[in-house]
Amino acid sequence: MSDATVRLVLRTLRRNKGRSFVMALGFIVGVVSITLTEATGEAARTAVRQSFRAMIGDLDVLLVQPGGDAQRGRANLETSITTLTADDAAAIRQSVPNVADVGVAQVELGAVVEANGRNTTTPLFATSANYAVIRGDSMAQGAFFTDDDGRALARVAVIGSDVARELFPTGAVGQHLRMKAIDFTVVGVIAPNGAGPGGFSMDNIAYIPFETARRRVFNRDYLNIVNIKLANPSRWAQTAAAVHALVRQRHGTTGAALDDFRVTSPQAMIARMAGVDSTLRRMLVWIGGLALVIGGIVVAVLMLAAASARRIEIAVRRAVGATRADIRGQFWSEAALISAAAAVIGAAIANGVIAAGAFMMRAQLSMPWAATLGAVLVTIAIGTAAGYLPARRAASIAPADALRAAE
């Protein structure tokens, strides 16, 4: 594509604005639609990841929870399955490779907490002392309880920032609260985590030492959560398989018998929940692709029409020295340049929409550059392909015939 041809083609496109716009429209719609679909997909992934982070904390973990295929359909897994124990957790810590740390928790989802004549309901977690570290929580006030607190069956509690604000507006550490008819001293407040999946606040929570709960509060041995911190997060699948095999063996589950526990990876759950492979999303990408194809057809049809309508122009150009290759190049460049321009305009519009959306809705939208670049390249390829036949048609016009017909 010579410099002179590009200038000539740009002039033609500029002086036929309506036609250029129609030629560009499908491509613009296609690139915008693909870019926006990708951008919102990425935003959904980010949002889900954030809410999971609020709920689970560090995402590079595996969770072992009671209730598996054997209990499918049964409610109240919190208290009905009693097979997952602290000994299972200890065995995992000891013999499964790639395990950096293991935390345990007993959970009661709706515990009433009273203090200063007020009360609130919160999930109560009775955990090992390493639990906050595994989650990656940081402290707003005080400190998390220690192993020594556990061994001493100390009646100490750590609360979330919502609970602290509700019950102790003037400062929580050192204050007393009452749960399950037992008094606890508040030793720390967890820094806010925000909302989890489903929109519930993850700051409405209370922690007490696992040993204390086991002997004095819940009076049970079985666990609700084993939280495994991975040394190398990328090997989560192998580690999950090893944990699964070990716990199955410890629970005496053999052969085709169903599990009474489940091992989950937050990363895998996030991918599922973000719905990046949802039907709607796939459809939007298809619509974008379809717009590109329609754009290509429009370009091909309009250029074929132009090859006929501009017979005289083509004949005159041939008369003043244009070769067939020059005419072919001119028409082909026209298709290539309009598609390139449309692709860039589409990307720019999408960028504008994303910037405006991010600003107005405070959404975490950003330009999906790789997808956009892909859409741009596909557009140029389609446009160039669409121009091929019209360019050949234009180049094949015999100047003598066209001029004779004109006189």
Binding site: D3, L8, V320, A322, A406
Partner: protein, 230 residues
């Protein structure tokens, strides 16, 4: 300069061929001003297109400036048209939505691709249409359009000008202007081959070739010498 020998041109398929030219032999010297006359369908335009290297004969030989053009490929013919031949048409054939100056530049695109603005200015001046350089064809009168077309034909300094009924779409005043311009160009050394069916127009030429049914029916010396009537 131009030597046609036994030029025959058929149109259409082999089933029903139409003979436009039948064994035409003709020589035109450098600097000559030749008019080709004849009724419609006599083969005037076909002859002109073959001389202008826009079309190739079915048989026969055409030698232009010592090169046998009847054997050349598209690219070579295009270069010959670009460098040596200028075209002027009855319906002007300026490219739409393209200014006069841009129309005049067009042949330069297909030369070395370099636009020589000074040369464009010069030819616009020569045909006295500089004031219309930025205008579009539809904004011009017929006479102005034809002058712009002549500027376009001249911009590459051709040695041969092909004019197909150059005054056919013009009123007599504008037609006379265009003919004076052609006479001027001829006086400056340009070889001109012009098709016309108007005897008065043909009288401007030094030699008149009459075609009938694709054959040369007669050649006459000019009744009045070119320029004598001015």
């Amino acid at each position: 300069m131009i030597a046609l020998s036994e030029i025959t041109k058929h149109y259409g398929g082999t089933d029903h061929p139409v003979t436009a030219l039948a064994s035409v032999s003709l020589a035109i010297g450098r600097g000559e001003f030749v008019a080709v006359v004849g009724p419609s369908g006599s083969g005037k335009s076909t002859l002109l297109q073959i001389i202008g290297c826009l079309d190739v004969p079915t048989s026969g030989t055409y030698v232009l400036d010592g090169t046998t053009v009847s054997e050349m490929d598209d690219a070579t013919l295009s270069r010959i048209r670009n460098e040596r031949i200028g075209f002027v048409f009855q319906s002007f054939n300026l490219i739409a939505r393209t200014t006069v100056a841009e129309n005049v530049e067009t042949p330069m695109l297909y030369g070395d691709g370099r636009i020589d603005r000074a040369r464009v200015e010069h030819v616009l001046e020569r045909v006295r249409i500089t004031h219309r350089a930025r205008h579009f064809p539809h904004e011009l009168s017929g006479g102005e359009q034809q002058r712009a077309a002549i500027a376009r034909a001249l911009v590459r300094s051709p040695s041969l000008l092909i004019a197909d009924e150059p005054t056919g779409n013009l009123d007599s005043a504008n037609g006379a202007q265009i003919l004076s311009l052609l006479s001027e160009l001829h006086r400056d050394g340009l070889t001109i081959v012009m098709v016309t069916h108007d005897a008065a127009v043909a009288r401007r030429a030094e030699r008149v070739i009459e075609l009938a049914d694709g054959r040369i029916a007669g050649t006459s010396a000019p009744a009045v010498l070119a320029g004598a009537s001015r």
